[in-house]
Symmetry: C2
DNA sequence: TTGTAGGCGTTATCAC
DNA sequence: GTGATAACGCCTACAA
């Protein structure tokens, strides 16, 4: 781990100036003889260009940050899986930020954008506060936000359509003859929690079903918490025949609790999750879930950012990714060979790439 | 997105030299009056220090790279989830590299270490070639390898114990009265594939069971491939009563195929996976799996790297993480409340943190 | 074609 | 205490 060689070292070794070395290294027109000498010296010394020095000069790091609440969340991982190859193909490295659910940390990450160690950022805020908007307005590098921001925020924005998503699910349950459809939600002060709560209410109204507060339970977006919430719900209301869960983890918790309680799924209680993560297809029974296009949102975000990194100046763009209902065993006893129902008529085919494996020694 | 202010801008604004600005910013002893002026100017200008320039000077980027074959692989993700918080707590950012299964890409990543855009690296090579060893020997920054490298390789090394892991699984199956235990493996020219193949053979020998080539099927480490391999196997051999799968994805594929073939799991065929990913607990039936301590290996690797980044020079260290058999429904009809069997007597409690959730709008 | 020199934004070593 | 000034490693006018 000795001190690595620099262009100066090479210059001395080759008996030329550092300017010539730089030229050769960058493929600028140079005499053959010089090229040979420099290349030889570089080779012998095992020279590798210093990316930091180069960035200082060029003002480009070829790095992009991805900031989300939690690396362990399968929905974010689905985004990550799409973002990574897109950026890599364009010659960018991906820097990960896991902020926890702490708003201050998100602001901090946004602040650190100013340190210029990345050329841009993709961010999935859990809550969007005034402080967020202020930082976004003052950002010194392009930012793409996954999740809705108010009109006029000067960043590109990739949205899911929770509203339609929840409606697809509720319609599906209703069509199966379910009338006591409960909502198991996460905290309502989060962006997704709020959206899904409102959408649930709307969907019921559209179907002419009454909104019953008894049928709404707030927990958190985790499996254990979801289970607890469902237990509380069942304890309170006895005639629930369907659970609309605000994400897949909650839904898995629901399955755990229902099984323990001796309820059959879907005969006694049908269950729908959200995000359509890998866990949905693997669960027991397999889980009907609303895909909000995590993978596609990630891919689109990466593409928007790359575009912005190249061109620079357009108006802020907003892209909304349509949801899809993926029907599995938790709502229909005989899973109909994975039927898909698309939310927006004939929209972009959200190709959720199959999870790949690989051993580890 | 105007040109950001630098210490020079601040110096002018505050009417002092850049040296003083730097001192104030770094908390070095300075007169109160000067401190005030500089802070005020910095505040007004919204100054954020340039990480690149700072790195050039300090020769530290406060970044660490994590390189693996595929961001989509749950085993690597388990590592990632542990690595990230450890590094973050120590003030490091994580740069992700997904190399695909391509050896050349791994070498390339190792090469890029020389660009000094990170202070160190954690790598999980799928194969370990001569080229790998050469690059590792010449590395200009500390590297920790997850997966076995030959004695004498000058890097810290965190290993799983496939051998014991496979033995735990095979013993378990044998104890359940299974005698025709098949192996569904991934490519045998990979580190894990080779290790698991050899371990299977050993485990049978120890139990006095015959090694039957008919019972070994090679596919790949993915769900679909695993399914195909199992189909081929069942087609060839009719009396298989247990499947030892080289990872969880293969095992899930096996469950798919067995179900389609009308075989009951575990009554007709017992199934064991490896890596104990989130998918194992969520699957249908839930999957008995050998945990090779992905999470712990990640955490240990991060700690070794941090230690090396601070101190610098010790001898290369080797840490082996013990496997655990996690028994679930795919081998015992009545899952015994998730019984754990530890591979090494009373070893470090591999605390596999429960996957956390979170909604996304 | 090639070399000299200045600058990217910081930090750190000097004299003052 | 503070202010010039020299690095850090690279790129690039501009001159030769």
């Amino acid at each position: 781990m000795a001190q690595g060689p620099t262009i100066t070292t090479i210059a001395e070794r080759a008996g030329v100036s550092i300017a010539s070395v730089s030229r050769v290294l960058n493929g600028l027109p140079t005499r053959q003889e010089t090229v040979r000498k420099v290349m030889a010296a570089a080779e012998e010394l095992g020279y590798v260009r210093n990316a930091v020095a180069r960035s200082l000069k060029s003002r480009r790091t070829h790095q992009v940050a991805f900031a989300m609440a939690d690396v362990g969340n399968p929905a974010y991982l689905a985004m990550l899986r799409e973002i990574q190859p897109v950026l890599k193909a364009a010659g960018y490295r991906l820097v990960l930020h896991s902020t926890g659910a702490v708003v201050a940390d998100e602001i901090d990450v946004l602040h650190s954008l100013g340190e210029r160690y990345v050329d841009g950022m993709i961010m999935v805020p859990l809550r969007v506060t005034e402080a967020h908007l202020q930082m976004l307005g003052a950002a010194r590098a392009p930012v793409v936000v996954i999740g809705s921001v108010p009109e006029g925020t000067p960043v590109d924005n990739v949205r899911a359509d929770s509203r339609t998503g929840v409606r697809l699910a509720v319609d599906h349950l209703h069509a199966l003859g379910r009338c006591r459809i409960a909502l198991v939600n996460g905290p309502t002060d989060t962006v997704p929690g709020a959206a899904r709560g409102a959408a649930y209410r709307e969907a019921l109204a559209e179907l002419g079903l009454p909104y019953d507060e008894e049928l709404v339970e707030i927990g958190d977006f985790y499996r254990a918490e979801g289970g607890r919430a469902v237990a509380a719900l069942l304890n309170r209301v006895s005639d629930v025949d369907a659970l609309m869960c605000a994400n897949d983890l909650i839904a898995l918790g629901a399955l755990d609790v229902l099984r323990a309680a001796g309820k059959r799924v879907p005969e006694d209680v049908a269950v729908v999750g959200m995000d359509d993560t890998d866990l949905a297809a693997a669960s027991w029974p397999s889980l009907t879930s609303v895909s909000l296009g995590s993978a596609e949102r990630g891919r689109v975000a990466a593409e928007l950012l790359l575009d912005r990194l190249q061109d620079g100046e357009h108006e802020p763009r907003v892209v909304t990714v349509p949801p899809r209902l993926v029907v599995r065993a938790s709502t229909t006893p005989e899973p109909p060979a994975v039927r898909d129902v698309t939310g927006a008529a004939g929209q972009a085919a959200t190709q959720s790439r199959s999870t790949e494996g690989g051993g580890t020694s």
